[in-house]
Every structure is written in structure tokens, then in C-alpha cells.
Amino acid sequence: MPGKLFTRRRDGRIEVRLSDAGRGVIREVFAHVLAAERDPGHEWHLSLNAPINPSSDDDDPLSSLARQNEIATNAELSVMTLKEQYLTDAEAWAWLSTLQVALRSTAVVNGILSDEKLESAAPELLEDIRTMQQFLFELAACF
């Protein structure tokens, strides 16, 4: 049975046991989120700016700005800690949030909005989604 990819230590830090290949996948995912937040033309940009109050024509600009700042901060912190063997609680939370943002953005831009669509997704896309889900599943177990 393969070992855990993330483990919460007694001192509160989270140990990252990803291989170089695993860190490579994570690096690519984090870079995409950061790029999407900065570039309005990025295919994930719209999914990062979903409506907060759909009954209103426009969302409160302060709420939208807070969301933009927090997503960017999480992505930046995640990129800065990519090579770390041990993450603080806040760093690990940034990883989890950024990975989850990437997972949902991947689903949204590929029209995967139902279980049926997920099951009929192209094998390569499905593998990307399963990989992110596995990382998230194991990281979430540390919280």
C-alpha cells in the first residue's frame, strides 16, 4: 500500500511526501491559478469570478476585490512553498484552496457539470481530475 502524500506531524506542520513528478503536477496547477487571476483572457478567469449574488446585476466591488486578493494570495503562497518539505497550517490551507480552485475551474471550462459528464470525459482530462482529487483527498485528511 503506497504511503500518504501528506501527513500532519505532532508539531502541527504538514509533511509533504510528493515525488518530483507529483510536485511538477502541483507546480503546473498553481501556476495556472495565478495566471488566471492576473489575466482576464485566461480560460479559467471567468470561473474565478463567479457571481456572489446572482439576483443582482453587479456584485459589491469590495467583495469581488476581496475574493481576487485572497485567491491571488493563496496561489502566490502556494507557489512560494512548492519546494518545502514541511508546510505550516496556513501554507497547507493555501495549497488546499488553490488545488480546489484549479479542480473546479478545470471542470467548469470543460463543461463537467454533472456525474454523467464526468464519466464521459476524455481519459486524459479524467486522469488530471482524478490526480487533483487524490491530492485534495489526502491533504484534506490533515485538517
Binding site: 456572489i52 475574493r67 484552496s97 480546489q100 479542480l103 463537467i112
Partner: protein, 97 residues
């Protein structure tokens, strides 16, 4: 002050008060890719709910397609909604029916 005028003002004030008290709900929507454990830890981290309550809310999202996870003032509802979106969940706010 004339009695009639006073009575009318009182009626208007009562209506305004009722409208103001209608809460705003934070709604989390189901999606086919988010792991259930992620939903639970996000609820726990953002709202500080118990494990049982977080699991119950997650199952409501899973089975019913959506769950009302918090109700109250509009500003706080929007703030919670933003936190949920930053954590990658699909969330919106709506006024209580």
C-alpha cells in the same frame, strides 16, 4: 401631532422593520468533482461548525444539489460566500424567501 398621521407612520415603520429582518442565506451548490472531505473541512474551517453539522450540510449539498449553510446579515453572508469561493466551492448568496 394629528392622530391619523401618527397611525400611518407607525404602519410604515412596521413594514420597513419586517423587510429589514429578512435574512440573507449563503448557499453552497453541488458539483461532480469536489471531494466530500474537502467540503467538510472547508465548512469546519470557515464556520467552525462541529464535524457532525459539517457532514450533515455536505450530505445535503450532495443529495439535494444545494444547502443553506449560513443565514444572517447581508454583509456577513457575502463575506462568507467569498471565503467559500476562495476555498474553491460554488457558493452564492440569496435573500430568504
Amino acid at each position: 401631532m394629528p392622530l391619523r398621521s401618527s397611525s400611518t407612520e407607525s404602519d410604515v415603520e412596521t413594514e420597513v422593520s419586517v423587510i429589514t429582518e429578512r435574512p440573507w442565506n449563503v448557499i453552497v451548490w453541488n458539483d461532480p468533482v469536489t471531494p466530500m472531505t474537502v467540503v467538510v473541512v472547508v465548512f469546519k474551517r470557515i464556520f467552525g461548525y462541529s464535524n457532525n453539522k459539517c457532514t450533515h450540510l455536505m450530505m445535503t449539498v450532495h443529495h439535494e444539489g444545494r444547502a443553506n449553510v449560513w443565514s444572517g446579515q447581508r454583509e456577513r453572508a457575502e463575506s462568507y460566500c467569498v471565503k467559500l469561493q476562495v476555498a474553491g466551492l460554488q457558493a452564492t448568496v440569496e435573500r430568504d424567501a
